[in-house]
């Protein structure tokens, strides 16, 4: 599978669709990271497996839209269970998240392997949803995923002001009369949709990474939400394309892990090189400050205050 040009139509469409998915995951993921809902999305992504298996068992049709619709239902169901556990039990949030994640994944595995053992038609290759395999996608599937991604980005653009308000200061938003609960629910539902859209590319186990790593990388470069969204979308798009290309070139290599590693490389570069927040910039800043102090012969030799919180050095 080395460069035979022109590339087949199917490969091109799949690459385009996955680029859209990566971009949308980066954009939507920003909101999840800012509102700290990333780990809830992780629990939901592990629960999609149950829905995928049940959808196949119920309809007998192995078509991507059917399977993903099932996945979306159980993803949302898992989030509802998570909210109920927090509301009605004394189990703390971290444990509740881990319980939903572990048990729903176990149920998914149980269903999948039970169906395979019974020889239910179409159940044999469903493991592609564990780690992602874009080579298995048809052009129609990729177009559907691409369209959903565009819709998700449009939704973010429409509701951006509200979500940013809630993400940064929920009590203030509530006091100003904004329906915080509804906005929060819409945000989490959008994350669940994005988890499902990303499922064929990155798989249930790693799809959260597409929602977490590009936004975290983008955060290093800017303090403005709009810039962060654009950068994160671009990072996600790049990672997705690299993932599709490399996994197509290397036999048996799943797409998800490669996408995640590409995103992680972008993150590492951002972590070291970003202006102001990057490690290199911080180190230089610190040295300049030290020289300034020692040059002026000040008695103060205290190191500059460490950066705290999300908002950079000067945010309280």
């Amino acid at each position: 599978m080395t460069g035979h040009f022109p590339l087949p139509y199917n490969t091109l469409v799949v690459a385009g669709g996955m680029a859209a998915v990566g971009c949308a995951a980066g954009v939507v993921g920003c909101l999840g990271v800012l509102r700290r809902r990333s780990l809830a999305a992780d629990a939901a992504s592990h629960a999609t497996l149950v829905g995928v298996a049940l959808a196949l068992a119920a309809t007998g049709r192995r078509e991507l839209p059917v399977l993903l619709a099932g996945g979306l239902l159980t993803a949302i169901g898992s989030l509802v269970v998570l909210v109920m556990l927090r509301r009605f039990t004394r189990t703390r949030e971290d444990a509740a998240t881990a319980i939903v994640l572990g048990v729903s994944f176990g149920l998914g595995i149980t269903l999948l392997s039970g169906m395979t053992a019974r020889g239910i038609p179409g159940s044999a290759g469903l493991e592609q949803f564990l780690l992602g395999q874009t080579a298995a996608l048809t052009a129609a599937d990729a177009m559907l995923l691409g369209c959903l991604s565009v819709a998700a980005v449009t939704l973010v653009w429409v509701g951006l002001k509200e979500v940013v308000l809630v993400a940064f200061d929920a009590p203030f938003a509530a006091a100003s009369g904004w329906p915080v609960f509804a906005i929060d629910t819409a945000l989490v539902a959008l994350l669940a949709v994005m988890v499902v859209v990303g499922l064929p590319a990155a798989g249930a186990v790693l799809v959260t990474a597409l929602l977490v790593i590009p936004p975290s990388a983008a955060r290093q470069w800017t303090d403005r939400v709009a810039t962060m969204l654009v950068l994160s979308g671009a990072f996600g798009l790049t990672a997705a394309l690299v993932g599709v290309a490399i996994s197509a070139a290397v036999p048996r290599l799943a797409t998800g892990p490669v996408m995640v590693l590409a995103a992680a490389a972008i993150f590492a570069a951002s972590f070291f090189l970003a202006p102001k927040r990057g490690l290199w910039a911080r180190w230089r800043q610190q040295r300049e400050l030290q020289q300034e102090w020692s040059g002026a012969g000040r008695e103060q030799t205290q190191a500059p205050a460490k950066a705290t919180g999300e908002g950079g050095p000067w945010t309280p």
Binding site: L39, G102, G114
Partner: protein, 421 residues
């Protein structure tokens, strides 16, 4: 995945697999209890994913799966995860969950890619990394005193004993740092060292369970039994004991159910643990959903009975007939009051009912008198709070209220306050 049938009817093989599942679950429960109590469950999640590259690199360098070097590799990977998360959190101010999300997904992806690229050189399959191969555990054995013992069982058993020993030795320190790390540190306990030890222990438990149930289902074994135990009992040693019992039970029942339904044993164990947790949520004494519903229903019933007695008493006081019971609840209440000898067949109060009704009405009117004097509420605002609190005042409180408002004969509405007896 038809692996359970591979074992055929050989009961010994199945027993070894069940024993391995049980020991793995017990080790995970010991560590999981400490993780859950210290609110570090998600670190357990992160570590269970992140040990993968450590294991793969150790195997690539010549370690045996389940051997010492693999354990070392896993511990190194776990500590690396925690250190990197810490760097992201403190160094560039990322939130802890996003930082952990970046680190563990990256390390896990690295592990999967390494496995795929080196597939010809190592005997690990990406799918068995995800959900283990408990069914194949009995085939990889060591000869120990003339008995063929599965290697995975030995590793898991050794890890369990080490963890149990460590926890017993450090019990006092762990207990102190579990509930109030700041106070424990101030008292001179090496809290940071204990935390590092706990993280290494998590890595050990994870890697012991890795072969049997895979990286992700280990999360269920770590967190679910401990969270369920925490709902059932309240002292740390009991929580740990119950968590171990629930984990072992889940391992055994899950394996048997998987055998019965011909499906993945690891997945089924997670499902059974989930059912145990759900039962704990429902049935836990005191805070369980059923216990709370029962207590709420009991209170509602008592209030309804007392209200009906008071209605009857007030009617008789004014020489009228009390309104008939209309709702289902009040009819049931009347039946019960009649059956228990509090009211007669025609609805009049019998002596027992009379005494109880008088106390309710006395509480009500005393409270109105108290509110009238101290809260300066208008007359028509006195009734609703009194209607609520009349069910919750005891004789001693009534005596003090009466003394406080000067033993009045009547309430602010001008009605007589009945005597205490």
């Amino acid at each position: 995945m038809d692996t359970l049938n591979l074992l055929g009817g050989s009961a010994g093989m199945h027993l070894w697999a069940i024993a391995t599942a049980a020991v793995v679950a017990a080790g995970c429960a010991v560590v999981g209890t400490l993780l859950v109590v210290r609110r570090m469950s998600l670190l357990g999640d992160a570590i269970s994913h992140a040990v993968l590259p450590g294991i793969v690199v150790a195997v690539l360098l010549g370690g045996r799966p389940g051997g010492l070097w693999v354990l070392v590799g896993a511990v190194v990977a776990a500590l690396l995860t925690v250190w990197l998360t810490q760097v992201l959190h403190e160094g560039v101010g990322m939130s802890e969950d996003a930082g952990a999300g970046v680190v563990f997904t990256t390390l896990f992806a690295l592990g999967v890619v390494l496995i795929t690229l080196a597939a010809s050189r190592i005997d690990l399959d990406p799918s068995c990394v995800l959900y283990g191969i408990l069914e194949l555990v009995p085939f990889d054995t060591l000869l120990l005193g003339g008995v063929e013992v599965p290697r995975a069982f030995l590793t898991a058993g050794l890890v369990f004993l080490c963890l149990l020993g460590g926890v017993t030795l450090l019990w006092k320190e762990l207990l102190a740092s579990a509930f109030d790390p700041a106070a424990a540190a101030a008292a001179g306990l090496p809290v940071a060292g204990l935390t590092t030890g706990l993280l290494a222990a998590t890595a050990l438990a994870t890697v012991a369970g890795f072969e049997a149930v895979g990286a992700i289902l280990v999360v269920a074994m770590l967190v679910v039994p401990a969270a369920a135990a925490e709902l059932l009992v309240h002292r740390l040693h009991l929580v740990m004991g119950v968590a171990i019992a629930l984990g072992v039970l889940g391992g055994i029942v899950g394996y048997l159910a998987a055998w019965q339904f011909n499906t993945s044993a690891a997945g089924m164990i997670a499902v059974v643990l989930g059912i145990e947790y759900a039962l704990a949520v429902l049935l836990a004494p005191g805070h369980g959903i059923l216990a709370r519903a029962w207590a709420a229903a009991g209170l509602a019933w008592r209030v309804a009975c007392e209200d009906r007695l008071a209605v009857q008493w007030r009617a008789e006081e004014g020489g009228e007939r009390a309104a008939d019971a209309t709702t289902v609840l009040t009819r049931l209440v009347c039946l019960w009051l009649r059956g228990s000898g509090r009211i007669a067949a025609d609805g009049r109060l019998l002596p027992l009912g009379q005494t109880e009704a008088m106390l309710i009405v006395r509480s009500h009117r005393l409270w109105e008198a108290w509110l009238g004097r101290h809260a300066e509420l208008p007359l028509d605002h006195l009734h609703p709070p009194a209607e609520w609190i009349e069910h919750h005042l005891g004789s001693e409180v009534r005596r003090r209220i009466a003394a406080d408002v000067g033993q009045p004969a009547g309430d602010p509405h001008g009605r007589t306050i009945p005597p205490e007896d």
